[in-house]
């Protein structure tokens, strides 16, 4: 079911997903005529690359737009704008990357870039095409209790997906496949005929992962998969995810508000604040050489389970502003201890501070922070 060339073990990883300037604006309607009076800019222009077989972590507080971004990438909600280039052959991906980083593009280059992007851009696909592409991209939701049909047993809950995408499968085929999936995720035959309410949170989340694997995907959006679980169960699920990733060469977009979980599981991390990526880099870069004041503040707010660190948390002032009416300039300036005039007026660009470590803060733009 998988395209050739995507499986083999290769030293150099290629991008599986390129997201460019993705935006999702929700209209605010008011009055009898439901006139649009403004927009909630939930995702306001994010760009990043996700490489094959890696885990790309996204952290942020509630309202930062991380879930909306995950749903937009799968086009489960329709993005307002942007490009989502998914699963192009690696030569194409490399060519796109090369053209994008080129300083000056000739007209021919521009045309070529556009043509390449157009061919693999999910935004350009119609409903039917999207349906077949979705076999390769799946999602696991935060709340396992509400993400299954309560009137169907687990066999049907998972089987219905197989039946939808492969109507030719017989009932027996589906039985076998569902059992295989459940077993892969640490469940057993006895869970097959059980209903969602008869399973614990951890078991349900295992079943959610089994369901996501049903169509042999390459890419899975994990939207806070362990937030509703206890620590001991969370550890089991994180272990399972990593095992499956190794076995099936899966690529994860891991969304979470929990920094320690993201640190543990991710290869690269994007920190989001009010719809923008404020810092992006490898896990080491983001955790050990963090640059953005917001990332620092987040780190300082985590209570570590180490009694030697008692009293070390430093609360950040204020709350996340409403995305309905975000502050001008850098959206973080209202809570930032280093804010200067420039921060209140202009939004900072995402600049490279070394080795692909990107930060959106005027402090790191030469000559701007005065």
């Amino acid at each position: 079911m998988l395209p050739a060339g995507s499986m083999g073990v290769r030293k150099i990883s290629h991008p599986l997903l390129l997201v460019r300037n993705l935006k999702k604006y929700f209209p605010i309607k008011a009055g009898v005529m439901q006139k649009v009076v403004g927009y909630v800019k939930a995702v306001d222009g994010v760009s990043f690359d996700v490489y094959r077989s890696e885990t790309f972590g996204v952290v942020g507080e509630s309202g930062s737009g991380k879930t909306t971004m995950g749903l937009s990438i799968l086009r489960l909600i329709e993005p307002t704008e942007g490009e989502i280039i998914f699963d192009a052959p690696s030569e194409v991906m490399m060519e796109i990357k090369k053209l994008e980083t080129k300083e000056r593009l000739s007209d021919r280059d521009k045309k070529r870039l556009e043509e390449l992007k157009k061919r693999y851009d999910l935004m350009k696909k119609d409903k039917k095409e999207m349906r077949s592409i979705r076999r390769k991209m799946q999602i696991v939701f935060q709340d396992p209790y509400t993400s299954f049909n309560p009137r169907m047993n687990m066999r049907d809950n998972i089987g219905v997906i197989l039946k939808t995408h492969y109507p030719e499968l017989s009932g027996k085929d589906i039985d076998e496949r569902v059992l295989e999936l459940l077993e892969k995720c640490g469940l057993a035959k006895r869970h097959l005929r059980r209903f969602p309410h008869q399973l614990s949170g951890g078991e349900l989340q295992r079943a959610s992962i089994a369901r996501a694997l049903a169509l042999n995907p390459e890419f899975i959006v994990m939207d806070e998969p362990t937030s509703a679980l206890d620590v001991s169960v969370q550890a089991q699920i994180l272990d399972l995810m990593q095992e499956l990733q190794k076995d099936m060469k899966l690529t994860y977009l891991f969304i979470s508000h929990d920094l320690s979980v993201v640190h543990y599981i991710s290869d690269k991390i994007a920190v989001m604040y009010l719809g923008n990526i404020v810092e992006l880099g490898t896990t080491e870069q983001v955790f050990e050489e963090m640059k953005h004041p917001y990332t620092k503040a987040l780190m300082e707010s985590i209570p570590y389970p180490d009694p030697d660190k008692k009293g070390t948390i430093k609360p950040l002032y204020g709350t996340i502003p409403s995305p309905r009416n975000p502050p001008p300039g850098c959206k973080f300036h209202t809570r930032c201890p280093y804010a200067k005039d420039v921060c209140k007026k202009l939004a900072p660009p995402l600049v490279d501070v070394g080795d692909g470590h990107l930060v959106a803060c005027w402090k790191y733009v030469e000559g701007a922070y005065k």
Binding site: A235, L238, H257, L259, H263, P305, D308, K310
Partner: protein, 325 residues
């Protein structure tokens, strides 16, 4: 025993349900001293919230208290009449909850709810109560308190609503504040603010705090002493530092190990196998034995006693001989 404000002794409670009798609390013991923050930690369903409700005298109709007592200031809460309970509830013991917005009445302004609470416990007129409400909001570092007084709960953020709840809870200067997962629904940055606030208020007002949470990080930051609960029993008890630094009970060890940390990166996380037992038919002996990697024969038969394993550190586990408390 003057320094003890609350003492929970041998508390064993069953609940009658259509499915059968749930044996929830199994001999729970702990003491909270005056002016300390005591943490009750455990995973969901371990009985920590049930315990806190019993302390408030909130006993469900289907509960059967098989044994034990809860001494608050030397008097047994479980034996108090409803009118006696009403005198201490909200006045001497008050409580804040996990979902602050849901804990406020959605159809009244913050002002009205606060005045109501204040006038209930103190003999003041409405203007004085309003004045007090404003002072309380300032005490909890509420940004823009005048506006908040005129707001409805849905206009507040989670962090602001929790500050309102805290302001109401401390309005009559309680001796004991029960905080049931007060920061679980909040973002980390807001959680840090609320934790700092609770610590400040506890010092300023000299009250005791019973802090209930599942988050060992929060406990490490805030609490002087803790009790770790598993399946309706306290399995480890004593100073936070000793328990977390040098865990002795296999469950506490497992919990500490299961927290993702940078040094685990790239390696599988050590997790506790299995899941929490069903209260309809809890395991005999030590309730943790089916998940415990060190389980011995005796663990399946007899419930272990609390033994001292170090300075201010007690565990209920057969692995440790120790001296009995």
């Amino acid at each position: 025993m003057e320094d003890v404000i609350l003492s929970v002794e041998n508390l064993t409670v069953d609940f009658y349900t259509y499915e059968g009798v749930l044996h929830v609390l199994d001999d729970v013991n702990f003491k909270i001293k005056r002016g300390e923050i005591f943490g009750l930690v455990g995973e969901s369903g371990c009985g920590k919230s049930v315990t806190s409700r019993l302390i408030m005298g909130l006993v469900a109709n289907n509960a059967n208290i098989r044994s034990g007592r809860i001494l608050f200031n030397g008097k047994d809460v479980l034996k108090m009449s409803e009118s006696e309970l009403n005198r201490i509830r909200g006045k001497e013991i008050s409580m804040i909850f996990q979902n602050p917005i849901g804990s406020l009445n959605p159809v009244f302004k913050v002002k009205d709810q606060m005045i109501n609470v204040i006038m209930n416990h103190q003999e003041v007129d409405k203007d004085t109560a309003l004045d007090k409400a404003l002072k309380l909001l300032k005490l909890v570092n509420m940004p823009d308190p005048e506006r908040v007084l005129e707001s409805y709960p849905f206009e507040l953020s989670g962090g602001m609503a929790q500050r309102v709840m805290i302001a109401m809870a401390i309005s009559s200067k309680p001796k004991l504040l029960i905080a049931d997962e007060p920061t679980t629904a909040l973002d980390v940055t807001i959680q840090a603010q609320i934790l700092k606030l609770i610590k400040e208020l506890q010092e300023k007002l000299g009250m005791s705090v019973l802090f209930i949470t599942h988050d060992l990080g929060v406990v490490a930051q805030l609490c002087d002493r803790i009790g770790v609960m598993y399946a309706g029993s306290v399995v480890a008890y004593g100073s936070t530092y000793n328990i977390l630094k040098n865990p002795k009970h296999p469950y506490t060890m497992g919990l500490m190990g299961a927290i993702p940390r940078p040094e685990h990166k790239g390696k599988p996380l050590p997790s506790i196998k299995g899941s929490v037992p069903n209260y309809l038919d809890p395991p005999k002996g030590c309730r943790f034995h089916p998940r415990c990697q060190y389980a011995m024969e005796i663990c399946k038969k007899e419930k272990p006693r609390m033994v001292k394993v170090g300075e201010n550190h007690y565990v209920a586990c057969w692995l440790h001989g120790g001296e009995e408390d």
